[in-house]
Subunit: 274 residues, 4 copies
Amino acid sequence: MEKHVPKELSGLRGWLNRRLFDLHTPEGQRTNRFIMLAIVLSVFISMFGTVPDLAVRWQRAITAFEYLVSVLFALEYAARLYAAEHPRKYALSFYGLVDLMTFLPMFIFGDPGLAVRLLRVLRLLKLVRYLKALQLFIHSLRDVFDIMLVVAAAIFLVVLIGGNLAYFLEGEGMLDPPTFRNAFEGAWWALVTMTTVGYGDIVPHTPAGKVLAAALMMLGLTMFAMLTGTISVKIAHALSYHRACRKCERLISQEFVYCPFCGADQREEEDKED
Amino acid sequence: MEKHVPKELSGLRGWLNRRLFDLHTPEGQRTNRFIMLAIVLSVFISMFGTVPDLAVRWQRAITAFEYLVSVLFALEYAARLYAAEHPRKYALSFYGLVDLMTFLPMFIFGDPGLAVRLLRVLRLLKLVRYLKALQLFIHSLRDVFDIMLVVAAAIFLVVLIGGNLAYFLEGEGMLDPPTFRNAFEGAWWALVTMTTVGYGDIVPHTPAGKVLAAALMMLGLTMFAMLTGTISVKIAHALSYHRACRKCERLISQEFVYCPFCGADQREEEDKED
Amino acid sequence: MEKHVPKELSGLRGWLNRRLFDLHTPEGQRTNRFIMLAIVLSVFISMFGTVPDLAVRWQRAITAFEYLVSVLFALEYAARLYAAEHPRKYALSFYGLVDLMTFLPMFIFGDPGLAVRLLRVLRLLKLVRYLKALQLFIHSLRDVFDIMLVVAAAIFLVVLIGGNLAYFLEGEGMLDPPTFRNAFEGAWWALVTMTTVGYGDIVPHTPAGKVLAAALMMLGLTMFAMLTGTISVKIAHALSYHRACRKCERLISQEFVYCPFCGADQREEEDKED
Amino acid sequence: MEKHVPKELSGLRGWLNRRLFDLHTPEGQRTNRFIMLAIVLSVFISMFGTVPDLAVRWQRAITAFEYLVSVLFALEYAARLYAAEHPRKYALSFYGLVDLMTFLPMFIFGDPGLAVRLLRVLRLLKLVRYLKALQLFIHSLRDVFDIMLVVAAAIFLVVLIGGNLAYFLEGEGMLDPPTFRNAFEGAWWALVTMTTVGYGDIVPHTPAGKVLAAALMMLGLTMFAMLTGTISVKIAHALSYHRACRKCERLISQEFVYCPFCGADQREEEDKED
């Protein structure tokens, strides 16, 4: 979507395009680093606005900064819309919509309440644009998604069964006061136990409840070991198969001298006589 | 057990068999997705029945829905029994018994109490049928089971020794009030510490108890690192070596065109001219 | 130490030796399984003795069982001493000393207090004898020990620095009431945070303390990821290099047709013409 | 920096240089082990000084020991400065500055307060000098740093978004009393949840808050599984490919006798007749 500047965009449009969309040039990097700083700053300022003491004392500065940032993002949006190769495509893209949402609510509703404040946090989604490495990472993990879904489904099943069992063992009518006020609290406790988060807000009191907890801990640790193992294997694969064969262009290990698929020699011409 | 429909099953029986047992056809997927939805819904409704406020306000709706679902599952069971290739074999199979348990208690006992409510949750076991991927996963891990048993036995040993040591250090007669009221509480704390769950319901107060906790944490993390490591290695093996060579029948990577052991070509006849 | 019965031990001694030391025969397995059961049972009974209610109600039964088990272990010790190939070597071995400690204190001191009770738990160490797989496992990890020591030393360093820093930020004189009463509490909190146990008995209250906690969490997770990674790699190595070369007897991969060290062909004679 | 003693340093200077800088000689190891002991002891004594009871009772001994250690470290510094090959280079190096900081504040300010006490803990940084293995380890992980930065950035993003969402769901004006007093508390809770530390100081109370917690737990576990996986792969690579081929200079396994790329024999001349 954010391709290099093609030749036909020139003048102001080309200049803006390079500065806003092209992260491969020093100017583009400088502009975008400034925008990143503005995003993180504005989110922190917005969070300071939720601390009662600070919110009252700095109210004016916070509001002023908020308007300043909104204007800045509005200008950025206008500039991007003007400079984009396909303005309509940009406007309807994920980043285009996020860019629009970062200033529009401020201009329509002002700064009345919580919901608008939350929308401001969505500015952070603008940052995803710069986490190229993360996107590549996620992309390389795409074929692990079905295993992750299976693990998630298995956890969902175990949490529901474990939670109901917990409610059966230490719920209303079995223990007084009950450890779990309802089966949902049981499921919440089962999740907190399986993930080894262990807040300690709910803890089983009977021997049977503790045995159930032990089983959930072991199951959870095994399941997450499976997840870690699967991801490790996929990462190992992604990190070692990252050279395209000179002939068939399939991804092969950096270390192979001959392509295992088509047999083509991977050495440079001058290396062949080694 | 749930094979493709053989030719001899025709008419209504064949039609039902395809819809209920055959997950490879669109009709079969549709029917089974509807059953899955009914299972999850009925479990959630059953859990809502444990929340005092909701249980009173929605009592009628919940009971009505409960009967509806029970009738649905009874019909499903009857249809499966009628359409199965080997009805007796289905009735005695794991899934057959689970299917029967999902509606029978409701018709025999009505909705009196906790035990029947728990049986309702067992409906979730019907879902295991659809987690084919999970079954394959567990199957591929079968030879890790002995290592997992050894890890479990080692944890059992360390938890018992650690728990008794903890009781010796901060139990009745050593500390007032004692951190651990009996040796079982010590073992429970040792387990919660080793798995890094750390509820915080019991926390050591003396320097000696804290040193013991540190030892248990390090031991636990090392043990679970071993578990994760072993599972990772097995998954790596399962993911990369899962095709038998066409000639020597040794397990080789899915990606190899030629067997690295005997050199046999692994391609289908019609693919060879690629 | 526990070798197969040599020919010269015959009569009662040979019969006992097979039953007590030889885990490869069905009789030996039966005898040792009975001893294992007695060990686990006696430890659980001893733990029941620490629960005030049960201890009073079942006092007589517990004491009687305790004497019974002690006599049983004394008989086992005597039989092992008599049947061992090298009685003195057995008596001075780790297992010989553990076997002796499991009944001697009971006969000398009776059942007066906590310390003797703790010695009883040491009976569990007898079980280590049966965890052959665990011993092999630990053995294969011997060369990871130096990496584990480095990780342990690094954690020790970070815990001390983090703990003192924490005390500096939220200790006596900085916060009222102080989060940490002394620098040792700071170190304890740093350890509980780094291992992600998170009891919650001590939690930082100031922004600076929370930033320190975040740094400790990230450091801890990275360190334990390193530990898991190193152990995974070693396990992968141990699991894949488990066949001795037919000629040079070095450990090589199951999959190699030729030894990478001496070049010897690893195939059976009849397979060579494949 | 701490190279072997060159020939031209002789007499006292050479003798000191060997003892202080050369960890390959027995004398050097003995001197440095003594310094290590002094460092650890002095930090522990300094920590004892923060325990009110002990601080009062042992005040004189602690102060005396503190002066003793400061003098020892001053002498060590002077000796190192005198014996170093390039005294100015040592004085300006990381270790030189740390060595200076371990005694200077004591002589300038005496023992007045917390800040000086904290500086004393920096003595532990002197120990980093001896953790060669750790330095090698960190060095071999240098190319994982960008992945770790991406993971850290992703966690930062999720913590900010999750924390603001949490404040929106259970903050001031939404729940009474609010679970989170401001958005920063939300971010702190999100971090504690994602890392599975789970102190339990803040726990969500509404169904929506608990669903958010579940999402954060799963995201956190997946992210740290990625981190573990990446580190595992890098360690596997570092442990197996760390010798350059004698002929083609590509990295190959330590265990290979022949280079798998060019076939060159990797043995020393005198080993070839093995």
